[in-house]
């Protein structure tokens, strides 16, 4: 019996692999396994190799594995491109139709299962996916009934006949594999799961769910990979809550519409990827200057320009922090787990209202799109804090507007929503006085600038960094952000096994950078390795600037479009130290 396993299914884009994958993994989730998925896809619609890899474990996991136990192949290309990943003794389950071949002498088993033939026999070749699910179930020696129940849920509304046919396909696949493999083997038999059904969710959905829970009722956005799923989730949910999603003409409209709506008092979201973020830069300054909250999600993908739109990268960090002309208060968050995607989404809305400034919530493609099991989301942790807000306002002195931009100690001034009696004030991107009237006076300018920037001094987030800090004299401190967390953890465990003392820090608050917190961690380590999916080491630069430690810091960078793998990271870091 084993405690974890990697399974991959591959074929042509647009062939419906996703449903196979969805049914299989939903069943595994029901059985109480932890799952972590990775989708390989490219920027074309039909055709082109695509694959989906799932790691299945009895323990929490947050990384894909370097190698593979089982490969389900719908074409020879899938075998050709992926077989090297198979561990010694791994298995390929392939459609007999294309006469699958493994390279001579390659140490893996090949089971040719007539996916297509069985499916066609049952009525339609489309069901070859289900045959593959059945075969996989058999290999892992899982209860086929669970799978069938999921199929019922998935296809129930299409009628019992459809359900039955699909289940027949599963059954046939199941039996066929048992037949040719000679029955279940211990090698692929998973220890039982804990029976807890978890959320099986992608980061974008967790963010969307967080937004709904945070009271976001409007989203204005423009489609882009890999952000669109947030919009797709919210368009399904918001109308039921009186809200809506507007697909705008571009990202400039998206963000300025969000600013208008936030000014109007509704928590409003926009989401995009790098190209859209770049287009939003001017408006981000408007939000900062008028102290109008806005939450912007940037799902990072391979850059620059159109770059590698379907690939992993973490290269918009600098743009998120520095990318508007002039100087504004701004908060940048970067969750590193699926649960944090949810909680940080809620927190982003609170921070935006509390500090009345733009909040950029970064994710990366792997975190946004990788489907994984999540620990239960604690609703009691969801609070809605709208910051300094006056719902009713006293009459103002003659000829005075409401002092929306009152000089305050914290830098935060009380907001009112348009429509409020006695609350009339002016907002402008031009430098202004306490009432929002344009002003070029030098003393006012300095005070206003100080007031706005002062907000950054008090930014309080629960965990600006998430530290696993076991040692006061660690040999290595690993620092990362976003989806690299789980991979770092696994690589770190290998170092620990080698007898090295390692600490780990995931930076969650990217800006204002928690310099003191990170510096304290640097102090406890001899060497620091900053792990990032970009080419220049943007996080390492931030650390150097705000926490020092220039001499200690080594950069572990990967920017070929793929996430780090645990073993790869371990080996590369070994070379570095």
């Amino acid at each position: 019996m084993i405690s974890q396993l990697s399974w991959k299914i591959g074929g042509q884009q647009g062939e419906g692999l996703e449903s196979t994958d969805r049914i299989f993994s939903t069943a595994l989730n029901r059985l109480g396994y932890h799952l972590y998925g990775y989708r390989h896809f490219s920027s074309r619609i039909k055709g082109g190799h695509t694959n989906n890899k799932i790691r299945i474990s009895t323990q929490p996991i947050r990384a894909i594995s370097d190698n593979l136990d089982i490969l389900v192949a719908f074409d020879q290309e899938t075998i050709d491109l992926n077989h090297k990943e198979l561990r010694n003794g791994g298995v390929v389950i392939a459609d007999a139709k294309f006469d699958p071949k493994l390279p001579e002498g390659f140490p893996a088993k090949l089971y040719a299962v007539p996916f297509t033939a069985i499916a066609e026999e049952l009525g339609t070749s489309l069901m070859k996916n289900m045959v593959a699910v059945g075969a996989s179930t058999a290999l892992l020696d899982l209860p086929v009934d669970i799978i069938k129940k999921v199929v019922e849920e998935e296809f129930g509304r299409k009628g019992q006949a459809v359900v039955d046919k699909n289940n027949a396909a599963i059954q046939k696949g199941f039996e066929y594999l048992l037949d040719i493999s000679g029955g279940p083997s211990e090698e692929f038999k998973l220890e039982p799961g804990d029976g807890t059904t978890r959320l099986f969710i992608i980061g974008n959905e967790a963010i969307g769910l967080g937004a709904v829970a945070a009271g976001c009722r409007l989203m204005s956005a423009y489609p882009i990979t890999p952000a669109s799923e947030i919009m797709e989730y919210l368009i399904k949910k918001l109308p039921k809550l009186g809200g809506t999603v507007v697909q705008t003409e571009d990202e400039i409209a998206a963000v300025t519409m969000a600013i208008g709506a936030n000014y109007g008092g509704v928590r409003t979201l926009t989401a995009s990827a790098g190209p859209g973020l770049s287009l939003m830069m001017e408006a981000i300054g408007l939000s900062g200057m008028t102290e109008t909250p806005v939450v912007i999600v940037d799902t990072m993908r391979g850059g620059p320009s159109t770059g590698l739109p379907t690939k992993q990268e973490q290269s918009d960090v600098n743009a998120a922090i520095y990318g508007t002309h002039g100087e504004i208060p701004k908060i940048v968050l970067f969750p590193s787990t699926i649960e944090e995607c949810f909680y940080d989404s809620v927190e982003a809305f609170n921070l935006a209202d509390q500090y009345q400034c733009p909040v950029i919530l970064l994710t990366d493609l792997q975190l946004s799109l990788g489907k994984q099991t999540s620990e239960p989301l604690d609703f009691s942790r969801v609070t809605i804090d709208r910051g300094a807000l006056a719902l009713e306002v006293e009459p103002q002195p003659e000829n005075q507007l409401f002092k929306r931009y009152a000089f305050s100690e914290s830098g935060v001034s009380t907001r009112v929503f348009p429509g409020t009696k006695n609350g009339i004030f002016h907002s402008t991107g031009v430098e202004h006085d306490e009432q929002g009237r344009p002003s070029e006076a030098t003393t006012n300018r300095k005070k206003m600038m100080d007031k706005r920037m002062r907000k950054m001094e008090s930014v309080k987030v629960t965990n600006p960094i998430v530290a696993i800090s076991k040692y006061d004299d660690a040999d290595i401190l690993f620092v990362g952000m976003g989806s690299t967390g789980g991979t770092i953890e696994e690589a770190r465990k290998q170092f620990e096994a080698d007898g090295l003392k390692t600490n780990q820090v995931m930076v969650r608050l990217i800006h204002p950078f928690p310099g003191a917190e990170v510096a304290a961690q640097l102090d406890k380590a001899k060497k620091v390795i900053v792990v990032e999916n970009n080419a220049t080491g943007q996080l390492a630069d931030l650390i150097t600037l705000h926490a020092g430690g220039r001499e200690k810091i080594k950069r572990m960078l990967k920017y070929d479009g793929n996430p780090f793998l645990p073993n790869e990271l371990y080996n590369d870091c070994k070379e570095l130290i």
């Binding site: 109308p239 571009d250 409209a253 519409m257 709506a261 009696k421 002016h426 402008t428 344009p438």
Partner: protein, 288 residues
């Protein structure tokens, strides 16, 4: 009930004496009062330009945004708060150069915003460059030998884009101007109101006199039917775009908000946004 004086504040406009924008300001103030709004029920969102300053000169909520983006801001505001009367405004450069895309899409979207363009056929604030509204041959700092681009016709564009309310007026005709703004505010959907608002400092061609000699009110056409798009188009072409009054109005078409599934009369900003535990659990269960 509020009168137009209630929509005045004590901020002195920094427009040049004689600038056409003063009358636009006055007309908006009158129209707001005539429609029956209280100052706090109105929000004016503007772009950047001399004209863009207008949001600061009316006693109402004012949002002076960035160049060319008054429309998306205004639409967001209206979606957030349906109870508010939302006016968007700015210059011809703001709305027809950098903001052209938003203008077309706001027209298509038909959210209930009244958009007033102060059209002086030039860039005022940046001291006299060509605008998309400048006539061919018009000489400015940026086109010293005369503009060689085709002049944009806002009325043709709006009609082509499927506008439900298109009007034009002239800033000296306070009565007509007030009336069309009022009609625009009463219109359920997006209204585009182009206002000839002379720049006395930089535009020495399209002066008050120049306009006075050329504008033709729809009133002067026998049997003009503002609900007939083809007629509107024809008259716009015939008058070389100098037609004033309500040029076209489609009263049948519902606004964007009215068509939104689940969208409620009460402003979103006033709704309870807290989920119940039960609602949350149901949302979570979808991922199990």
């Amino acid at each position: 009930m509020a009168t137009f004086k209630d929509f005045r504040n004590n901020i002195k406009p920094n427009w040049c004496p004689g600038c056409g924008d003063f009358s636009v300001q006055a007309a908006i103030q009158r129209a707001c009062a005539n429609v029956g709004y209280e100052p706090e029920q109105v929000a004016v969102v503007s772009g950047i330009g001399c004209s863009g300053r207008i949001s600061g000169y009316i006693n109402a909520y004012g949002f002076h945004s960035i160049h060319g983006r008054s429309l998306p801001v205004a639409q967001g505001l209206k979606l957030a708060n349906r109870e508010l009367a939302v006016i968007a405004s700015g210059g011809d450069g703001d709305g027809f150069a950098i903001g052209m895309g938003h203008t077309v899409h706001a027209i298509r979207r038909n959210i209930d915003v009244t958009y007033i363009v102060m059209d002086n056929q030039i860039y005022g604030l940046t001291k006299g460059q060509t605008s998309p509204r400048s006539a061919s041959g018009f000489k400015t700092k940026s086109t010293p030998t005369g503009s060689i681009e085709t002049t944009l016709s806002p009325l043709e564009m709006a009609l082509a884009a499927g506008a439900t309310f298109v009007a034009q007026s002239f800033s000296t005709d306070l009565k007509q101007l007030t009336a069309v703004i009022e009609a625009g505010m009463n219109h359920k959907g997006f209204s585009l109101i182009n206002v000839f608002s002379p720049c006395v400092t930089f535009n020495k061609v399209n002066t008050y006199e120049w306009f006075k000699e050329r504008v033709v009110s729809t009133d002067s056409f026998d049997g003009y039917d503002a609900s007939n798009k083809m007629m509107a188009m024809q008259k716009v072409l015939e008058t070389d775009g100098m037609i004033t009054g309500i040029v076209y109005q489609n009263k049948e078409k519902p606004s964007y908000e009215q068509q939104l599934p689940g969208f409620q009369e009460i402003g979103l900003a006033k709704q309870n946004i807290t989920l119940t535990k039960d609602q949350f659990d149901k949302l979570v269960a979808e991922f199990n």
